[in-house]
């Protein structure tokens, strides 16, 4: 039996207003799925496993790790301004040691990453370009329940096409 692609969704609203998005994902039976609700947990998962797709939110809480907590505190305990999701991506892809001096896992590549956030594409375009991330979707009211599944499908289809 071939193993399923592994997906990590880094999102703090998954069990709240976005909870309807996981039903189609599980029902599809296509992916092994993990959820990280803060940056500390995400880093823990990223070090423990290799994923085929990462879906990352921009506004994330830091979790218990002091490095990320400090970054969060420096912006006044505010998810909106801290944008820890972007900082996490800069650390993972640009290996920015000013964000976290620990080296990030080597296997994370831009084509494995999709950004799913309330920010518009225009707002974070510069970051996406710098990091080479092509898959993006903006959260908004009225999105279908399959939006997360579609985003993962799109990401993996592009990754396969790139190979």
């Amino acid at each position: 039996m071939t193993s399923k692609p592994r997906v990590l969704w880094i999102e703090d609203s998954a069990r709240f207003e976005l909870r309807n998005l996981v039903g189609p994902l599980f029902f599809s039976g296509k992916y092994d799925f993990n959820l990280a609700e803060d940056v500390t947990t995400a880093v823990h998962f990223l070090r423990a496993n290799q994923y085929d797709a990462l879906i990352v939110d921009v506004r994330l809480p830091p979790g218990i790790d002091n490095t990320w907590r400090k970054l969060y505190q420096q912006t006044g305990f505010d998810k909106v301004h801290a944008q820890l999701g972007l900082k996490l991506l800069h650390w993972l892809l640009a290996r920015d040691a000013t964000i976290n001096p620990e080296p990030p896992p080597d296997w994370v590549k831009p084509h494995k990453i999709g950004v799913f956030t309330v920010e518009s594409k225009q707002e974070i375009q510069q970051h996406l370009d710098e990091l080479g991330i092509a898959v993006f979707n903006q959260k908004s009211a009225g999105l279908p329940d399959t939006v997360l599944l579609d985003l993962i499908d799109e990401l993996l289809a592009k990754a396969i096409a790139q190979r």
């Binding site: 069990r15 309807n20 996981v22 039903g23 029902f27 039976g29 959820l35 329940d145």
Partner: protein
């Protein structure tokens, strides 16, 4: 007589040139006769040359000068203090504001007004700041009125959502837990998992009984693959979806899809009885997920109804028309509050105990304000109550006492502490302040309830008293780290003066 000699005498006899405020003498037409350095600076005149300026020319509105002089003469005739006016002037195109204390200068021989003598203070900075404050206040009033309207619409939406959920809950009946309000998330999860397992068994039987060729006539292979996937998901739902909050939407989606497969299939190719079993089991699972979701959402709405309403009233308080005060019997006010909080108490599984019900004392006040305060205090008491005994629901107590001056309504609960310094420093009454220990277990709040209660109590000549102490003081002494982890008995009391008490209505 000319005013000049008097002015000259003033200058010689009393050295006002270096006084820290502007001093001047003018002729009746406003021509400057004498002034000190500050006035020269104020009007951008040469500091040591002859005076060739007329103060009337600096007035932004010439009628201000006429009005000022009329008031000055009037005050002088009545022997009262010189009038003080704030006057806008324009000097070299720039607007300044001065405070002018002015009185007529009379000829000692004839008592005729031969000019005016006065002091000027430049208050431009203060006046501009005051104007900015007025503008800001105006903007704030407009904004709060707008926020109030939006908030009003939001609370209406809440009411509509609640009514809709009532309909959904009725339509999705019966509830396996009946009228029980103390159902735990684990119990709900158990019911869902049981039904999920049942659906998995039915689907499995269906797949085992029907042959592949038959099935493919009814639906394409990819759809059957989903069906097969769902068996594993339904059987191992706790392992596959370890986060409890995500299980319910996942099961709802799975049940919905299982139902849809049956609907989409060309039924005459499938065994009718087995298809019906799958549909029934899937419908039941879908029904339960919708029912539990609707109940949970409704409870969340019920919890937020009063804070929303209070916030709305607080925002719109300044723009509401002043409502008249009336004599109010306390008993129906308490009853009204208990009624308003009935749903919230039930959904929180908290009973309201009120023993001294015969409170016929009367207060004078605004019915809406007092009812809101009582409701807020009761809401807090319910919200911050912990369960005391395994075998019975939690409770809050209402005590009412009446003495010769006041009636006091006390709300007592057992649970979340209020820290001593929060009471002593009055922090709990600060707008937007939320108690240190008040946010445990995800309790939401606005930090407005007690501020509002304090305002209303004072406005009615009364007060709010708060005390919070450990239920069992010996358990954890105050210097221990666990001091505030133990249950506290918190009493919040609204005291209002009785009708006939002279304190009544004192701010």
């Amino acid at each position: 007589m000319d005013a000049k000699p008097i002015a000259a005498e003033l200058v010689q006899g009393f050295n006002f040139l270096d006084m820290p405020i502007g001093v001047y003498v003018v002729a009746p037409d406003g021509q400057l006769i004498a002034c000190n350095r500050l006035v020269r600076e104020m009007f951008h005149l040469s500091l040591d040359g002859p005076l060739q300026a007329n103060v009337a020319s600096f007035y932004v509105h010439p009628q201000h000068r006429e009005q000022l002089l009329a008031k000055v003469r009037d005050a002088d005739e009545r022997g009262t203090q010189p009038a003080k006016e704030i006057i806008p002037l324009r000097v070299d195109g720039k607007e300044i504001f001065v405070e002018d204390y002015c009185k007529p200068l009379r000829d000692p021989a004839t008592n005729q007004v031969i000019g005016y003598i006065g002091c000027l203070v430049d208050v431009t900075t203060e006046e501009q700041a005051a104007q900015r404050a007025v503008e800001a206040q105006h903007k704030m009033d407009v904004l709060t009125a707008d926020i109030g309207k939006v908030w009003h619409a939001s609370t209406s939406t809440f009411v509509m959502a609640r009514q809709t959920l009532d309909g959904v809950i009725d339509a999705m009946a019966p509830n396996p837990f009946g009228e029980r309000a103390d159902v735990t998330p684990e119990e709900i999860d158990d019911v869902l998992v049981k039904q999920a397992t049942r659906l998995a068994s039915v689907i499995e039987r269906f797949l085992q009984t029907t042959d592949t060729a038959q099935r493919l006539k009814a639906l394409p292979e990819a759809r059957w693959q989903l069906y097969e996937n769902s068996v594993g998901l339904l059987r191992e739902i706790r392992e596959r979806v370890p986060i409890a909050e995500l299980r319910l939407p996942t099961l709802r989606k799975t049940a919905y899809e299982a139902n849809r497969l049956c609907r989409d299939a060309r039924a005459h190719h499938l065994p009718r009885e087995l298809t019906r079993d799958v549909q029934q089991a899937a419908s039941e699972l879908e029904r339960l997920t919708i029912l539990f979701d609707a109940i949970a959402t409704q409870m969340a709405i019920v919890q937020m109804e009063l804070p929303f309403a209070t916030l709305r009233e607080y925002i719109t308080a300044e723009v509401r028309t002043q409502e008249t005060r009336e004599r109010l019997v306390v008993k129906p006010l308490i009853e009204d509050s208990i009624k308003r909080l009935g749903d919230f108490a039930r959904s929180s599984n908290v009973e309201i105990h009120w023993r001294e019900r015969d409170v016929y004392a009367e207060v004078e006040g605004n019915k809406r304000d007092i009812t809101r305060v009582l409701s807020n205090l009761l809401h807090n008491a319910i919200k911050y109550t912990w369960r005391r005994e395994r075998t019975r629901a939690s409770w809050v107590e209402i005590h009412t006492t009446v003495d010769t001056q006041n009636v006091c309504i006390q709300f007592e609960n057992w649970g979340v502490p209020i820290a001593r310094e929060e009471i002593e420093q009055g922090l709990i009454f600060q707008l937007g302040y939320r108690g240190k220990w008040s946010t445990d277990r995800g309790r939401l709040g606005t930090g407005i309830g007690l501020t509002d209660a304090d305002h209303v109590a004072r406005d009615h000549g009364g007060e709010i008293r708060v005390e919070s102490k450990p239920a069992a003081p010996a358990l954890h002494p105050q210097d221990e780290a666990h001091y505030y982890q133990q249950p506290f008995i918190t009493r919040v009391t609204l005291c209002l003066p009785l009708v006939g008490n002279p304190q009544r209505g004192k701010p």
